[in-house]
């Protein structure tokens, strides 16, 4: 980490956002958690007022921990609520209950968090449209600054996948999933949220700057086993095995593997594909500023056909997905692969 910090300092970089997550860092004992956060400030040149998020699961936070995080410079808390029905939470293998979500949220507010995100999931086996709307209502009642709403991706090998393939529970059908997606959009927008990325909603001024960095192809550094980085047009990741990672770090070796240089063409393609995830889309001005050419110079064919499909709109100065295009975004993005 020290090596990274030194390198960044040499290059004149400062850290604009910090995100501690992937797993549940709040499971750490208070002392270790505070130590981790302090070390980040100590080692890296983090800008004053930088967005500093910690992921937490309801049931792993208490008042002292929350206070300590605030004191250690954390200004954004992301809570994995997932659902507000205990039966669905159990199906997901979550240890917390709906009641604990509300408790954790209130504790965080009381402790002083002014920027809280709730993660929620739809298209769960056994979830009905009614229970999804109930979840959305519960969320709007709590009134967090930010909501991430994801459709469940059944992944092979998970407990849920086994239950579905084993016929214990029935997977959500595609049409219902699509209806749930648009229900979330409509209900949250009505409650004052901006739908700013395919799966993300925020109150004005509370977009997640860290994630926007990913979608705008800004450099990022991942620390920890299996963490991905994008730096100096290189994509790479740390070794996945935690023990190997620790072992390498302890003897001062590089934990990095799987590096790949991204060509300028691929970066342009990434810029479009990831940029289109944001509802404001990609502006020609920004593209030009970054690459020195216009979008139409590189992706003229894709721009030419996108309006006719009704999935995206190109008005000559920017391209963005239409409402229908949100759930069919791959159909649009595919045309922005490097030819």
């Amino acid at each position: 980490m020290g090596a990274w910090a030194a390198r960044l300092k040499d290059l004149g970089y400062r850290i604009a956002t910090v995100y501690v997550g992937g797993g549940t860092p709040t499971i750490l004992p208070l002392r270790d958690l505070v130590h981790l956060l302090d070390r980040i400030w100590a080692i890296f040149q983090v800008e004053d007022g930088a967005e500093f998020t910690v992921e937490a699961n309801p049931g792993t936070v208490d008042r002292p921990k929350l206070k300590a995080m605030l004191d250690a410079g954390v200004n954004r808390l992301s809570l994995g609520a997932q659902a507000f029905q205990d039966s669905l939470l159990e199906g997901l293998g979550r240890i917390h209950t709906a009641r604990e979500i509300v408790e954790a949220f209130c504790l965080a507010r009381d402790a002083g968090f002014r920027n809280i995100n709730l993660d929620i999931i739809y298209a769960l086996p056994g979830q009905t449209m009614a229970s999804w709307e109930e979840t959305l209502e519960a969320v709007t009642r709590l009134d967090p600054e930010h909501v991430s709403a994801y459709g469940l991706m059944l992944e092979e090998g998970t407990r849920l996948w086994e239950r579905v393939t084993g016929g214990v529970v029935e997977a959500c059908d595609e049409d219902t999933e699509v209806r749930m997606y648009y229900a979330a959009k409509d209900i949250l927008e009505e409650s004052g949220y901006e739908h700013y990325e395919l799966s993300n909603f925020s109150k004005p001024g509370y977009r997640c700057l860290h994630n926007i960095g990913y979608w705008k192809i800004m450099p990022y550094i991942g620390l920890g086993a299996g963490a991905h980085s994008y730096f100096g047009r290189w994509r790479f990741n740390n070794v996945y095995d935690a023990e190997e990672y620790t072992e390498r770090m302890s003897r001062g070796a590089m934990p990095v593997e799987g590096g790949r240089e991204i060509s300028k063409a691929e970066e342009m393609s990434d810029f479009m594909i990831l940029g289109l995830r944001m509802l404001e889309g990609v502006s020609d001005r920004e593209f030009r500023k970054r690459f020195g050419v216009g979008i139409s110079d590189v992706f003229g064919e894709a721009l030419g056909k996108c309006n006719s499909l009704g999935l995206a709109e190109w008005d000559g100065s920017s391209i963005r997905l239409t409402r229908r295009g949100l759930m069919l975004s791959n159909e649009v993005m595919r045309d922005f692969l490097i030819p």
Binding site: Y150, G151, M153, E174, D175, E177, V178, L198, S199, N211, Y214, W215, Y220, G222, G226, A227, H228, S229, Y230, R235, N237, R260, S269, D270, I273, L274, R277, L309, L311, L326, M327, L328, S329, N330, E331, M333, R334, L337
Partner: protein
């Protein structure tokens, strides 16, 4: 005892050959081996080759006569081959017997025989080729599996041999198998063709047991070739192959007269004339000779560049002698089954054309001509002797020429009588004239012989009735096995009839059939419409009574194959303007990766690339993207 004829034959000197000065045909035996598939024909041929030392043991690979890999893999013989063997019966000169000059030995009183073994294709698609091979022989070794007994092809081949007036040597093979029941087979052979049990030889081609007796029976029972040496040349072409250096090589049986290099010859069916440049025999490799006389089997090279100039069944005559009567039995082979072959990648059209031309060089029964499909672009309409033939050609195109192909549903050839009196042949459903111009449609019929355990008479007949069959006869081969004969439309047995027959008889039934003629049927064209537009490559001609059920099946199957598009796609089956079945592929509503942060970027890109690749392999029909399997869907029937 069988005596090997040392290495002498390599010099070609010790052979007792007829030459054009004196006829020694009396010691020639021309025969073939006929059998139902898997009854052991090739193994027996291998043993015979071994025992007559035609091939040194170290070169012996299984089924030497079947040269192409494909043949070996499928265990079937595609092209007839002929091989000349020398047989010295018991009491003849043994190994190491060097006594006497060769010429003397050859004319001595210890007989030596020249065997010409003509291998025949073992599949119903090649029936005509089989019949021509039989016509080149005086005898046939009929191989029957001791446990399976008489099967449909046994009967068909046996009758074909009897029609050609051949002497039959019945061989009951695989007597080493634990479930062998040779007694039952004896009874069956007696019942179907009056074959006396005493004539039958028990053999295990695998262990070699009984094979010497077969060789001796060939020498003793099969008559020497008939035919007159002093008559003008007449030779029967029973097969051919294309050699890139010498052109077409004709496999012939000389019936009358004698053929020599330099002789001008006339191919009587095509009327073309050539000059003989080379003659020879197969041992089994090609070996040149100076002449081939009446009764002999060998090959003729005469500068023929094109296999289509040299038809199987044709008569080669001396071009200088007028008024020669051609040998009987010739007919022009016509493809029975047609399908469209299209390259998956449209820029491979030229490559496909060149590949077909190359295959055609060696396969006179393959036909092809350019065809354009609205759906599939540029391709070829190809004609085949049958489905196996079609399958072999497709596989060779893909394997040997590295082509990826879309094959449209096979169609038979219809004879259409139009209201204006015109008669046309239609091998592509898309070319059927409008209903108003059609007086009647005739379709090809076959006579099918099915041999089955008597327990399955019900299911077999039921299947034949479902397939619009006309019952002809039912005959008991033994108390528990029957031969059932039906007249059936070829189109009804083309696709899955055999599989169905097998599954309804637990694998016990066997099938053979032959084309009998075209007959009128109440046929209609079934069209498939995607997004309200007919897809020519999916049309088929079908009996009116079956159109509804087939249409229903097809649209259901297509609904499962055609992926969701960005809009709703109706799939309809129609006869004329009447829609008889409809399904809908609902519009695609979701194709999104919802979570995409730092580590997901590479995965996201891979997903999109995979989708793009998949799309490339689709055929664009109007605005609808259709996977290639859709065109194969028509091939499957439930």
């Amino acid at each position: 005892m069988v005596v090997f004829e040392n290495a002498d034959w390599h010099r070609g000197g010790a052979l007792l050959l007829p030459d054009c000065s004196g006829n020694n045909a009396v010691n020639i035996r021309n025969f073939c081996i006929i059998a139902h598939v898997d009854h052991g024909k090739s193994t027996l041929a291998d043993r015979i080759l071994e025992l007559t030392r035609a091939i040194p043991e170290r070169e012996m690979t299984e089924q030497v006569l079947d040269r192409m890999d494909l043949e070996r893999e499928r265990g079937i013989t595609i092209k007839a081959k002929a091989v000349r063997l020398v047989y010295v019966p018991e009491g003849g000169p043994g190994p190491g017997d060097e006594a006497g000059p060769e010429g003397e030995r050859a004319r001595g009183d210890r007989p030596e025989y020249v065997f010409n073994l003509i291998d025949t294709p073992g599949h119903v698609d090649f029936n005509y080729e089989v019949s021509r091979s039989l016509a080149a022989c005086e005898g046939a070794v009929l191989v029957v599996d001791a446990s399976q007994g008489v099967e449909a092809q046994t009967i068909a081949n046996l009758y074909l041999a009897i029609e050609n007036d051949l002497t039959i040597i019945p061989v009951i093979n695989k007597i080493d198998l634990p479930n062998a029941d040779p007694e039952r087979v004896l009874q069956e052979l007696k019942d179907i063709a009056g074959i006396a049990p005493g004539e039958c030889i028990f053999v295990s081609a695998k262990t070699g047991e009984g094979v010497p007796q077969v060789l001796q029976a060939i020498a003793d029972r099969i008559p020497p070739p008939r035919g007159r040496l002093d008559a003008p040349l007449r030779a029967l072409v029973f097969d051919s192959h294309f050699d890139p250096y010498r052109g077409v090589i004709a496999y012939v049986r000389v019936v009358d007269g004698c053929i020599r290099p330099g002789m001008p010859i006339l191919l009587m069916a095509t009327g073309k004339q050539f000059e003989v440049s080379e003659l020879g025999v197969f041992r089994p490799d090609m070996q040149q000779v100076e002449s081939l006389a009446a009764g002999e089997v060998g090959y003729v090279v005469a500068g023929v560049k094109n296999v289509s100039d040299l038809h199987v069944g044709d008569t080669i005559a001396d071009a200088r002698v007028p008024g020669i009567e051609p040998l009987p039995g010739y007919r022009q082979v016509r493809p029975m089954v047609f399908c469209g072959l299209y390259p998956v990648e449209t820029d491979k059209y030229e490559a496909l054309r060149d590949a077909l031309a190359k295959l055609k060089l060696n396969d006179a029964s393959l036909s092809y001509e350019p065809e354009t499909s609205v759906a599939l672009g540029f391709g070829f309409r190809c004609g085949f002797l049958g489905l196996l033939h079609m399958d072999i050609v497709r596989e060779r195109l893909e394997r040997e020429f590295d082509l990826e192909l879309i094959v449209t549903a096979p169609s038979v050839v219809y004879r259409v009588r139009k209201t204006n009196g015109q008669v046309i042949w239609v091998d592509n459903p898309a070319e059927l004239p409008p209903a108003g111009e059609i007086e009647a449609i005739e379709e090809p019929f076959v006579r099918a012989t099915i041999v089955s355990p008597a327990d399955y008479i019900g299911p077999v007949m039921e299947l034949c009735e479902e397939r619009r069959g006309n019952h002809r006869s039912l005959e008991y081969l033994s108390k528990d096995r029957v031969a059932i004969v039906y007249d059936l439309p070829l189109s009804e047995i083309l696709l899955d009839f055999f599989d169905k027959l097998k599954s309804r008889t637990r694998g016990y039934a066997s099938l053979d059939y032959e084309y009998t003629g075209h007959m009128e049927s109440d046929l209609v064209r079934l069209d498939i419409l995607l997004n309200n537009k007919p897809v020519d490559a999916l049309s088929c001609i079908i009996h009116r009574d079956k159109a509804y059920e087939r249409g229903r099946q097809l649209v259901e199957r297509l609904r499962k194959i055609i992926p969701r598009q960005l809009f709703e796609v109706p799939i309809q089956a129609a006869v004329g303007s009447r829609v008889i079945a409809r399904e809908t592929v609902s519009a695609l509503r979701k194709n999104v990766l919802q979570k995409c942060y730092g580590g997901d970027v590479t995965r996201k890109r891979k997903l999109l690339e995979k989708q793009k690749e998949g799309k490339k392999r689709m055929k664009q029909l109007g605005t609808v993207e259709v996977p290639q399997e859709a065109f194969m869907a028509v091939l499957k029937v439930d």
